[in-house]
């Protein structure tokens, strides 16, 4: 059976896996973005708190993904829970770091002007600082998503959802006639998904970055 025949006969299964993969990454990204930006907003003002947040999140990233999921299984069990937890934790670093860098990079004279015309703390953050820091934050989200696409494949190790199942099944049955096809289908599927997500981010950038600061 060649690769195309394989795709033809298994497309139902592959599409389900791809959908679950995308949906897991998407949901984890939403959570990671919310938490990451929040951490950024809370910490960017203080030198040490910002550095602490960046260091902590980058420490998480150094834990090998297989080990992380393995460590999470005894705590949260098998299936979706360890996948979501691990992906969210991994996704934090780029978002936290870019939020902090972006918010710190807002021209202080603009913040001063905002204060001077009578904007409250919250108002300044929502109307001035976050919109101006949005391009770097969006870049962080984009990098995060690319990363999670790959890492999500490992989730299958803990019986999680996604295209990782194809890859693991193929590796487990190495030597059988469909083994290579399975690994290839899983990998290519992830690449296609990653490219689709990236295209979506370009569109989101177009729609959400105000024309006045678009480069």
């Amino acid at each position: 059976m060649n690769f195309w025949d394989y795709l033809g006969s298994r497309h139902q299964q592959l599409l389900t896996d791809a959908y679950q993969h995308a949906s897991a990454v998407f949901q984890c990204m939403v959570v990671a973005t919310a938490i990451g930006v929040l951490i950024g907003v809370v910490t960017y003002r203080s030198e040490w708190a910002g550095n602490l947040a960046t260091t902590a999140t980058s420490t998480i990233l150094t834990i090998p993904s297989l080990a992380m999921i393995g460590l999470l299984i005894p705590v949260v069990g098998l299936g979706v829970a360890p996948t979501v937890t691990a992906l969210t934790l991994y996704g934090l670093l780029p978002i936290v770091r870019n939020s902090i860098v972006g918010l710190r990079g807002v021209d202080p004279t603009l913040v001063d002007a905002a204060k001077g015309i009578g904007m409250s703390r919250v108002h300044r953050l929502v109307r001035i600082e976050l919109p101006l820091a949005w391009p770097p934050i969006l870049t962080g989200i984009r990098v995060s998503t690319q990363m999670l696409m790959g890492i999500a494949a490992i989730a299958a190790y803990a019986s999680g959802p996604g295209l990782g199942n194809e890859i693991f099944r193929g590796i487990a049955s190495l030597g059988s006639k469909n083994a290579l096809n399975q690994v290839l289908a899983g990998t290519l599927g992830i690449i296609v998904l990653a490219l689709l997500f990236d295209a979506a981010y370009v569109l989101i950038g177009r729609l959400t970055i105000p024309r006045g600061i678009r480069v």
């Binding site: 004279t109 002007a113 001077g116 015309i117 009578g118 105000p210 006045g212 600061i213």
Partner: protein, 426 residues
Amino acid sequence: MSETSETSTATAAPQQAPAPRATTGATIELENLTKRYPGSGEPAVDSVNMEIKAGEIVIFVGPSGCGKSTTLKMINRLIEPTSGRIRINGEDVTDIDPVRLRRKVGYAIQSSGLFPHMTVAQNIALVPKMTGWGKQKIKSRVEEMLDLVGLDPGEFHGRYPRQLSGGQQQRVGVARALAADPPVLLMDEPFGAVDPITRDHLQDELIRLQHELHKTIVFVTHDFDEAIKLGDVLRERSHIAQFDTPEAILTNPADDFVSGFVGAGAALKRLNLTRVRDVEMADVPTVTVDDPLQTIFEKLRASGTNELLLLDKRRRPYKWLRRGDLMRAKGSLARAGTLVHDTVTRDATLRDALEAVLTDNAGRVAVTGRRGEYTGVVDMETLMNSVHEMLEADRLDAMEHQHELEEQRAQLTHQEQEGHGGEAKA
């Protein structure tokens, strides 16, 4: 540092409300205002006392780091004073919610401080929106403000700050500061980042605005020429060195520091203090492009002068017509005469006018009003006459002032001597 007793200003004309609904200026009182940064011995601002009358333009001018900006920022409490009180229109604002205070006080800064992700209209609408105006009211206010600062609302409404020149950005900055109609306007080196020609225009505009609006304006600059053009305070090392009219500072600096800062060329700088509208303008016969040729010929013949000023449809100066020009151009108005290439506004300083007169080959320049319409002509003779009168008046004032100072000094010395005498006895 001495503080002279006289505190009148060039702009403190009696305040009549110009437009029925516009808010005019409020008084500002600073009482023993001090700012001391932790870890530094000398206070950044040391016990400043000042009373600014409603509708005045007061300029803080001095070298960098003398605390002028700090004082300004203490008025809207961007910098919290260490001690002292601030009162605006009699109301003590030292302890009220700073956000509430700042919405009553317009604030314009160097390089405009416009938010790049908002359009011009959104920038101007910010403060009115925060204070809860209705949509329709905000919309018409934005148009009104753009018109006020001389920008076409239709054209600039939807633009982003980066699509504007430096001068235009600065105008929008001023429009934003004035949008919610605050009685007080604080300006922190607002024209510091624009080129000299634009700065000059903006200064003229500010003077015109002040004539229309009568706000209380506190303005910080390190440029002495800008200071004498606009208003009247000098300060050094957190003391007020001299609080006086520009005329007095030029002709009668309080001490060496002030005279050193004023610099050379005081007579030329004096020209900056008088505006074209304050001197007597000459008049030349005018015709408009719509007049029939016959009328133009008759006017030329009837008037004793050699020249006519041809105005366009909106009564703006267009061409100078000499006797014979029309003949040479065979009666065609389009070809006759020389184009008017330089005019000055009524709010221009005499220095600008002199400059224009000197560069004009016939030694005269047309003066225009607000919308560019013709109002008169200034030539070398009118300038000379008014400058002579001015200097003479200044000299007399200065002599009087000198006399007063000497009397005061004599009295002080007298008291000191008495005091020493007393101690010696004890």
